[in-house]
């Protein structure tokens, strides 16, 4: 070495040598698979346990309960998918729940006050959600503000606007019957809304895992500076993720009306966002550990759903379900941080 820069490394520390070692490679492959299928395994354990336990078995496995649980959590599942896209590109959207709370009012008001036909009312709600996402995305991607702060602010504003506009009154009349029916009909024993969720999940899976766009979002989430250096327009990609998240939250708002048969100002809030984020984080510990992924997220949604429902049937007081989803979020975030750190080779 000849000249003349600041000595960045100590003389001895120049050479790195953590060559992959085959034995530990195999061990980690085994560990990898355990990690990968832990969540589906847990879901099966929960299902088996509650159907065999004498206190819950008679009710838990009935078709009615399955439908109810599936139906109850469609809305949370849709919010989880919404929060997934920003998470994939390394950003938070804390406003998805409040966005749904706002767009349920949009779809209900459109029908009840302005007599807009259902398809257009739905489109209006989705557009409204996407517009909110555009606001979030612009502030985050172009202005460069921390996404957690921006979307928390958005969430607060939306809650306030909903309360002001509705005067804390529910919108019960004038909701399209076919929307309410859609919320209660089944197709091959599974609620229509659940089919819709699975359909959207499938599209999200395709977009995230099998298109260049999804790969770009993942790259931005992994290292935005490196993404820029391989020619990606990081700000546009982030913006698009927020817009899509907003649109899905708008759709979740429509589902909320379909489920409740009305638009109530209390529905759609930060609590729901927390549950959605819990599912996304829990999902990132499985199927493709260390990455936010659609399959894992859906499994996580229904892992939480069936656990809470089982506990409810067993007569456990309702606060347990709050504790359960809170604890799931906590454990999921810790687990995915640990996994992520190990994958980044620093743990």
């Amino acid at each position: 070495m000849t000249v003349v820069q600041t000595d960045k490394t100590g003389q001895g520390g120049d050479e790195e040598s953590n060559q992959p070692n085959e034995k530990s490679g195999m061990q980690s492959a085994l560990l990898f698979n355990v990690e990968r299928y832990a969540l589906p395994g847990l879901l099966i354990i929960v299902l088996v346990f509650f159907s065999l336990w004498s206190k819950t078995g008679h009710l838990f496995f009935s078709a009615a309960d399955f439908q109810e649980v599936g139906f109850d959590y469609v809305y949370i599942g849709m919010l989880a998918l919404a929060s997934l896209l920003p998470l994939v590109c390394g950003e938070f959207d804390f406003s998805v729940g409040s966005n749904a709370g706002f767009t349920q009012i949009v779809v209900a008001t459109a029908m009840a006050r302005f007599h807009i036909p259902l398809p257009f009312a739905i489109m209006l709600a989705i557009a409204a959600g996407a517009f909110i996402g555009l606001g979030n995305g612009n502030t985050v991607a172009r202005v460069g503000v921390n996404s957690l702060i921006v979307t928390l602010g958005t969430a607060g504003v939306l809650l306030g606007v909903v309360e002001w506009y509705t005067g804390s009154q529910s919108i019960n009349n004038g909701i399209s019957g076919s929307l309410i029916n859609f919320g209660s009909e089944n197709f091959i024993g599974i609620p229509d809304t659940v089919w819709l969720l699975f359909g959207v999940a499938l599209v999200a899976y395709y977009v995230i895992e099998h298109t260049p766009y999804g790969r770009y979002l993942t790259s931005v989430g992994s290292n935005p500076r490196a993404a820029r250096l391989v020619g990606l327009r990081v700000d546009r990609l982030k913006l698009s993720a927020f817009v899509l998240a907003g649109a899905l939250a708008g759709l979740a708002g429509v589902l909320l009306v379909a489920k409740n048969g009305s638009a109530t100002p209390e529905a759609g809030n930060v609590q729901d966002t927390l549950q959605a984020l819990a599912a996304a984080y829990l999902g990132a510990t499985s199927i493709r550990p260390g990455r936010f992924n659609v399959m894992g997220t859906m499994l996580a949604v229904y892992f939480i759903a069936f656990s809470v429902s089982g506990l409810a049937i067993a007569g456990v007081q309702s606060w347990i379900s709050q504790v359960f989803s809170g604890a799931a979020l906590f454990i999921a975030v810790v687990a995915s941080t640990v996994i992520g750190r190990r994958r980044a080779g620093t743990g």
């Binding site: 070495m1 000849t2 000249v3 003349v4 820069q5 600041t6 000595d7 960045k8 490394t9 100590g10 003389q11 001895g12 120049d14 050479e15 790195e16 040598s17 953590n18 060559q19 992959p20 085959e22 490679g25 980690s28 895992e209 099998h210 298109t211 260049p212 999804g214 790969r215 770009y216 993942t218 790259s219 989430g221 992994s222 290292n223 500076r225 490196a226 993404a227 820029r228 250096l229 391989v230 020619g231 990606l232 327009r233 260390g290 990455r291 992520g340 994958r343 980044a344 080779g345 620093t346």
Partner: protein, 548 residues
């Protein structure tokens, strides 16, 4: 002030006699004059390298003593031993004032208690806090004994007194981030020295404090340093810039390959003499040629490119050529690459690719035109949470988008081919990138671009933090690409490496090209000489922004 007067009354009474007769090893029977800091026969071995080889340096009290040397000359190791970060090999000693310690027993506590005060290149100051708060951090805030609330007035009073003592003319309430750059350095110095009761106590060690300072700011800082030294402060000033040595040194010790090349007195210091000592042989002024490349097969012509630190850079790049860019930190060597790649827009100048003028608004435009860029810092190009395969194909994902699906099988096949072609050691293409060794990670990043068969590959320190074997392989890969028509511009501080891999090297100083050496056998010491003697004249910086 006069420097070589060794009988200077450096420090308080009593200590002057301490350094006589009975030294530790009992070898010195002749009384030695007083030194504020003496390093005696210090060596340091790292596995595979000898960082310091029997180094002895005496620093006279109340003088500015420069420590000069190239990358890897051992000056950093020496400073780290003094700071107690490393311990030297057994055998040597370090003496500060009256206290002598074995050089293998230095520690941060020892350094602090014996009065060594360090100000590093990274000043470790808090831009968001006020000057007074910065002075108090690490030392303690004056608090009300009952409520433990900070006594702000007392804090400001203390800060005012310290700032007055060090002639720093700022309001203690100002945020440090609002100070001029030299002001920030001076606050850091004041913080380091604030508890000295007397200027002649202790030693201030400045480690390359001017690396990120504009020339005007350097003047301000140097004036202050000269004042401190005149008041009796002993200063050790570590640098790699010759012009700084010629301006402020009372003495200079030049290190080369871990040994003391020489210690010069003020009167002996000339730029040529310093270059000779750093390079290790007599100067040969015939080196630089400035031939133009007119009429040759140029793939890239850069004329008068300016922007950022660049102040009118012109050069040509032939097809299938490796062009090295040499220069000191701050010469603009990295900016040449980032400007060409479209990362920062040039303020003026022209870039012609294959004879056609081009300008890139975005990186993907530069990529489409056939550019590739490997940045200096691997953390700026690696997707550590993704797989090896995804890292390899990151710059050409859309290639696998066919018939509405990302063709992962084709991607995997290409990845396996690349792993073979670029001799990347990996268990599988799905292996997480983070589990690869540093050398294999770097090969992957280089492979990512070479797969695209770029017209022009821009490499910034392509072998930094990479072992010897991987280093050789990376250059073999680059050679192969060059043989198939790619042209390469490479920037590295390692001039031996640059001389070895380049067909031609241009020397950059202060945003301009100041010289050029052509192969086939580029002499690294000749290159070193060119780089060092091209170092900017600090007073020729009209264009440089000088923020108040």
């Amino acid at each position: 002030m006069a420097s070589d007067s060794t009988d200077e009354p450096g420090v308080g009474a009593g200590s002057a006699g301490a350094h006589t007769g009975q030294s530790l090893l009992g070898e010195q029977l002749v009384p030695r004059p007083y030194f504020a800091l003496s390093v005696w026969r210090v060596s340091k071995n790292f596995p595979g390298t000898r960082a310091l080889d029997d180094v002895s340096i005496d620093v006279t009290g109340g003088t500015i003593h420069c420590l000069l040397g190239a990358n890897g000359s051992g000056k950093s190791s020496l400073i780290k031993i003094l700071a107690g970060v490393y311990q030297a090999d057994p055998g040597g000693t370090v003496t500060i004032g009256a206290d002598t310690i074995d050089a293998d027993r230095t520690s941060p506590e020892w350094a602090r208690s014996s009065g060594l005060h360090f100000v590093h290149q990274d000043l470790a100051i808090f831009n968001g806090l006020s000057v007074a708060e910065n002075l108090a951090i690490g030392r303690g805030f004056p608090v009300n004994p009952v409520t433990k609330a900070v006594r702000w007035r007392a804090l400001r009073r203390h800060a005012r007194a310290v700032l007055d003592r060090f002639d720093v003319d700022v309001d203690p309430r100002r945020l440090v981030g609002q100070l001029r750059p030299a002001g920030r350095t001076m606050v850091a110095i004041a913080r380091a020295l604030q508890d000295q009761s007397d200027a002649s106590e202790g030693v201030l060690i400045l480690d390359e404090p001017t690396v990120s300072l504009p020339a005007v700011e350097v003047d301000v800082l140097f004036d202050a340093l000269k004042r401190y030294a005149a008041a009796g402060q002993t200063i050790v000033y570590v640098t790699h810039r010759l012009d700084e040595v010629t301006r402020i040194a009372d003495r200079v010790t030049v290190l080369r390959d871990g040994c003391v090349a020489a210690t010069l007195q003020r009167a002996e210091i000339t730029k040529d003499r310093l270059v000779e000592l750093i390079v290790g042989r007599a100067l040969d002024h015939s080196a630089a040629s400035n031939a133009t490349l007119d009429g040759e097969d140029l793939v890239l012509e850069v004329s008068d490119l300016s922007g950022g630190p660049l102040r009118g850079v012109s050069f040509g790049l032939r097809r299938g050529e490796v062009l090295g860019v040499a220069g000191l930190v701050g010469s603009g060597r990295t900016s040449v690459l980032t400007t060409l790649f479209g990362l920062q827009p040039p303020s003026s100048g022209m870039v012609k690719l294959d004879g056609k003028a081009v300008s890139f608004a975005n990186i993907d435009d530069a990529m489409d035109a056939g550019f590739g860029f490997v940045p200096e810092d691997r953390s700026e190009s690696a997707f550590v949470t993704m797989s090896l395969r995804e890292n390899l194909s990151a710059a050409e994902v859309s290639k696998y988008w066919r018939g509405g699906l990302l063709r992962e099988r084709a991607e995997a096949a290409d990845a396996r081919q690349s792993i073979k072609d670029f001799s990347i050691k990996a268990i599988s293409d799905r292996q997480p990138f983070a589990t690869l060794s540093g050398g294999n990670q770097q090969k992957t990043i280089v492979a990512r671009w070479l797969r695209r068969r770029p017209k022009i590959l821009l490499l910034d320190e392509p072998t930094q933090g990479v072992d010897v074997e991987a280093r050789a392989e990376i250059y073999r890969l680059i050679r192969e690409a060059v043989a198939s028509g790619t042209s390469v511009i490479v920037v590295t501080a390692d001039l031996e490496e640059l001389a070895r891999v380049s067909d031609r090297v241009v020397v950059l100083a202060d945003g301009r090209i100041t010289g050029e050496i052509r192969g086939p056998d580029i002499d690294p010491s000749q290159l070193t000489e060119l780089v060092l003697s091209a170092a900017p004249d600090p007073h020729d910086s009209k264009l440089e922004a000088s923020q108040p």
